[in-house]
């Protein structure tokens, strides 16, 4: 039974992807893309990767989907030149098939059952200060990757925000809409609770800074849409502090052992767990703030053009 589910899921994903790219209208493509995201989250679950499923669902599908939907309202659809697209399609199919075959040949040649680095991780897990293996790898064994990854996030935030600087708080009348107000008032406490739990559970179960940050960002997006909150701007000090405490703390913790003769990112035995937790907390706020910054906020009124889409 499981095999059937896996089989059709594995088959569905590329087909859905092909559909996403083939559809002419953009909005249809984005909707299909969100569906594709959910399906792939299901796939992660099937492959027993709960952390990834959670992040995929929250960020990969949720936030990216929202972002794309929002952007669509700005970019017009262009009349597609069907003829050219048609002529090229068989070639594209052929290319996809050839590439899949080539890469499939390599994948088939892989050893069927190599344990990878699972054993080493289990062996060294005790002195990593964290019980959950993924968090151990993420924050301790390969903490350096995560440090650079935070830098990637900051760069993306800086780039996105620099490109769309000012979108002030939306007009007040949208705020009075009773439905969204009620929804927002109910959802926020639950949201904060879930995020806090996720950070804490990351120590011994699937969860962690990324997942918690994503959830918080989701809440933030709703707040922006219901114009309870303006998009975070780099010019305000509070936003900058929120954004940068995480990285500063992480760098501080990484550099500390250097002064006492140790190596970069060498967490001391006893406090490893607590240190990682503190860093996770700060990072959660950072990630939430970065993900919010990606979100452009309400669109300024379109100047002199037809009916707003």
């Amino acid at each position: 039974m499981d095999g059937l589910l896996d089989g059709c899921l594995a088959l569905c994903l590329p087909l859905l992807a092909y559909l996403v790219l083939r559809t002419e209208s953009l909005s249809q493509a984005v909707v299909l893309f969100v569906a594709f995201g959910l399906l792939s989250a299901l796939g992660w679950a099937r492959l027993e990767a709960p952390d990834i499923a959670l992040v995929e669902a929250a960020v990969g599908t949720g936030l990216t989907g929202a972002l794309l939907m929002h952007t669509l309202s700005w970019t017009e659809e262009t009349p597609p030149d069907v003829r050219a697209r048609a002529r090229r399609r068989p070639w594209a199919l052929l290319a996809m098939a050839a590439l899949t075959l080539l890469l499939g040949w390599a994948v088939l040649a892989l050893p069927a059952d190599s344990p990878g680095l699972g054993l080493e991780v289990d062996a060294r897990r005790e002195d990593s200060g964290v019980k959950h293996p993924v968090t151990a790898v993420l924050l301790n064994f390969r903490g350096y990757d995560t440090l650079l990854e935070i830098a990637v996030l900051l760069v993306a935030a800086l780039g996105a925000r620099a490109v769309n600087p000012r979108s002030e708080r939306a007009s007040s009348e949208a705020a009075k809409d009773p439905l969204t107000g009620e929804l927002f008032r109910m959802m926020t406490p639950a949201l904060l609770l879930v995020a806090g739990y996720l950070v804490w559970v990351g120590d011994h179960g699937p969860g962690g800074a990324f997942q918690a940050g994503a959830i918080l960002a989701g809440g933030g997006v709703v707040a922006i849409l219901t114009s309870r909150m303006g998009t975070p701007r780099m010019s305000s000090l509070r936003v900058r502090w929120a954004l940068l405490t995480g990285p500063l703390l992480f760098i501080g913790v990484a550099v500390a052992p250097l002064f006492s003769g140790g190596r970069l990112l060498e967490f001391p035995e006893k406090y490893a767990g607590t240190l990682i937790f503190i860093v996770e907390m700060a990072l959660t706020v950072t990630i939430a703030m970065v993900l919010l910054m990606f979100f452009p906020g309400t669109r300024p009124p379109r100047t002199g053009r037809g009916s707003a889409r």
């Binding site: 090229r88 290319a95 080539l102």
Partner: protein, 582 residues
């Protein structure tokens, strides 16, 4: 100062005095003093000729310069060169008093004198070539002194032929010197005799110096150059500068060291043809100085003859060289006097005691050239005949010589016929200085007859009746024929064919001139034409470059279409992995 120091000082003085004076004339601030002293520049050479010097060896100058060796040839040359240059200088002071380019005349005069004296003194090949070239190029200044179109043309011919001669000489010197780089004259004849290229060297030397001597077919510049030069200039040109060519032969040819019969006979034949050809063409000439020039060509024929004989019979070489020297001295002075006379006659005029003196002097010199008895000419011819007898040349030679003597008498008559009637009645004032120097030269000439520096042993035979007759008859016959021709022309206008001076040159020019024009095309073409061909070329190249670059441009445009990049990516991946698979 011991004797030999004085002697070497004398040698140095002989060379440096004219050289320094040339410098002084060129520099404006010392020009006046230089021009005043210029006429006396040849005095040290004359003194050295009379006395004896010591060889001077300057190792660091040029390629190791050696000057002066007390042999007979040098002494004789110094003597007559000194005399002729001295008196020509004195003559020129009067002759060119109000000339426009006086400074340039004296400059070139002194430079040519330096070259001439240097050539005589030089004892090694390189120095000889140095002074020879200096003399040749500075004589050019004398030739074009008048700055007329004819002078320019004559100068151009003179220079071209001189250059050709020098190039041949240079080739000869290379063959001669070989890896020794420089060679003293003591062992030049021996080296030439033994060298593997002996014949080539001798031919080159003969032709090279032949240009300067005016041998047959190499003489074209002589009748053009001598007349255009001012009187003292042409006197020196015809008197001493031609003789340097003969000096070259005497120095370089292995006379007495090797026998070259074939070359000897060729020389003898050339000499004889020159003798007769000179006279034949000379007679057709209008202008007095041109006639004299042709007479020089014929006289030089005799010397060529003697050298040819010396080549053929080495054992008779010393005697022949002696004869050549005597003849050279005689001819130099006589021809110098004649040329100066042509300059002097218009100044003194025909009338009055001055005119008569000049006319007498001129006829005397004409007789000398013709070889009349009791003149230096007779002595020269006598020494020539006795030397030829010693070299037991063919019997016909003496008769041919006498016939040539007839010819020279005829040409002398032609000369007198050309100059005397044209001279003006009354001379100009101030001709005194010129007359004095001319007279002194005449005196020296006659004195040399009785006390010749060389060939003294022939003197007693001069008076021998047998020889008197053989010397007299050609002159008498010549004079008779001249008189007959002179009178007959008065009744029947018997036209004499007119040949342009430099006869063979003009057909030759018609052949060479187009070649030269071809060689120097474009020299006067303005800059634009050349640029236009280059522009067309550039245009073509630019068009080609533009086309190829556009090609690359739209290839790039095609390549940058998105799908093509994708295709390129996949192709690259496929080919890469294909190549990897082993």
């Amino acid at each position: 100062m011991r004797a030999d120091e004085w002697a070497s000082l004398a040698v140095i003085g002989t060379l440096l005095v004219p050289c320094v004076l040339t410098g002084m004339v060129m520099l404006p601030l010392t020009r006046r003093v230089g021009m005043a002293l210029a006429p006396w520049a040849a005095l040290p050479a004359l003194g050295l000729g009379l006395g004896t010097g010591a060889t001077v060896h300057w190792k660091s100058v040029l390629l190791g310069m050696q000057l002066y060796a007390p042999d007979e040839v040098t002494r004789t040359y110094l003597l007559f060169t000194g005399v002729l240059w001295l008196f020509s200088g004195l003559f020129a002071r009067g002759y060119l008093r109000e000339d426009a380019h006086l400074a340039s005349f004296w400059g070139f005069f002194l430079a040519t004198l330096t070259g001439n004296v240097g050539a005589v003194l030089a004892r090694d090949v390189a120095s000889f070539y140095l002074f020879f070239a200096m003399m040749t190029f500075c004589a050019y200044g004398l030739v074009v002194h008048e700055r007329t179109e004819a002078a320019a043309r004559a100068g151009r011919v003179y220079i071209v032929m001189a250059l050709l001669g020098e190039v041949l000489l240079l080739a000869a010197f290379f063959l001669l010197v070989g890896t020794r780089v420089n060679l003293s004259f003591d062992d030049v004849p021996r080296v030439v005799a033994e060298s593997s290229h002996r014949d080539v060297i001798c031919v080159l030397i003969l032709v090279g110096f032949g240009v300067k001597v005016g041998a047959i077919l190499l003489h074209m510049w002589l009748p053009l150059a001598h007349p255009v030069a001012p009187a003292p200039g042409s006197a020196v040109l015809s008197g001493t500068i031609i003789k340097v060519g003969v000096l070259g032969w005497l120095r370089f040819l292995p006379l007495g060291h090797a026998s070259l019969p074939t070359l000897g006979t060729v020389c003898v034949a050339a000499g004889l043809t020159a003798a007769f050809y000179g006279v034949a063409v000379g007679l057709t000439q209008r202008e007095a100085k041109t006639v004299l020039a042709y007479s020089s060509i014929s006289q030089m024929g005799f010397l060529t003859l003697a050298v040819g004989l010396a080549l053929g019979a080495p054992e008779a070489a010393p005697v022949l060289i002696g004869a050549v020297l005597v003849y050279a001295v005689h001819h130099a002075l006589a021809k110098g006097l004649l040329f100066l006379g042509t300059g002097l006659l218009p100044a003194t005029g025909r009338r009055g005691w001055r005119g008569v003196l000049v006319l007498v002097g001129l006829t005397w010199c004409a007789l000398e050239i013709a070889g009349a008895p009791l003149t230096s000419g007779a002595l020269a011819k006598l020494s020539l005949k006795s030397a030829e007898a010693a070299a037991h040349a063919s019997e016909a030679l003496p008769t041919l010589l006498s016939l040539a003597a007839v010819g020279s008498t005829l040409i002398m008559a032609r000369f007198l016929e050309c100059t005397v009637p044209k001279a003006p009645e009354q001379g100009k004032a101030g001709a005194g200085g010129m007359l004095l120097s001319w007279g002194l030269l005449l005196a020296v000439d006659t004195v040399l007859l009785f006390w010749p520096p060389v060939g003294r042993d022939e003197l007693p035979h001069l008076l021998a009746p047998k020889y008197m007759v053989s010397a007299a008859w050609p002159v008498l016959v010549g004079g008779l024929v001249a008189a007959v021709v002179w009178r007959s022309r008065r009744w029947r206008t018997w036209r004499v064919p007119v040949l342009p001076a430099g006869d063979v040159l003009w057909p030759l020019m018609r052949v060479l001139w187009p070649g030269w024009r071809l060689l120097t095309t474009g020299a006067d073409r303005e800059e634009e034409e050349q640029a236009e061909t280059a522009a067309r070329l550039q245009g073509g190249f630019a068009r080609f470059r533009k086309a190829s670059l556009d090609e690359v441009e739209n290839a790039e445009a095609r390549l940058s279409r998105l799908s093509h990049v994708g295709l390129a990516l996949l192709l690259f991946l496929g080919v890469f992995i294909l190549l990897l698979v082993r």
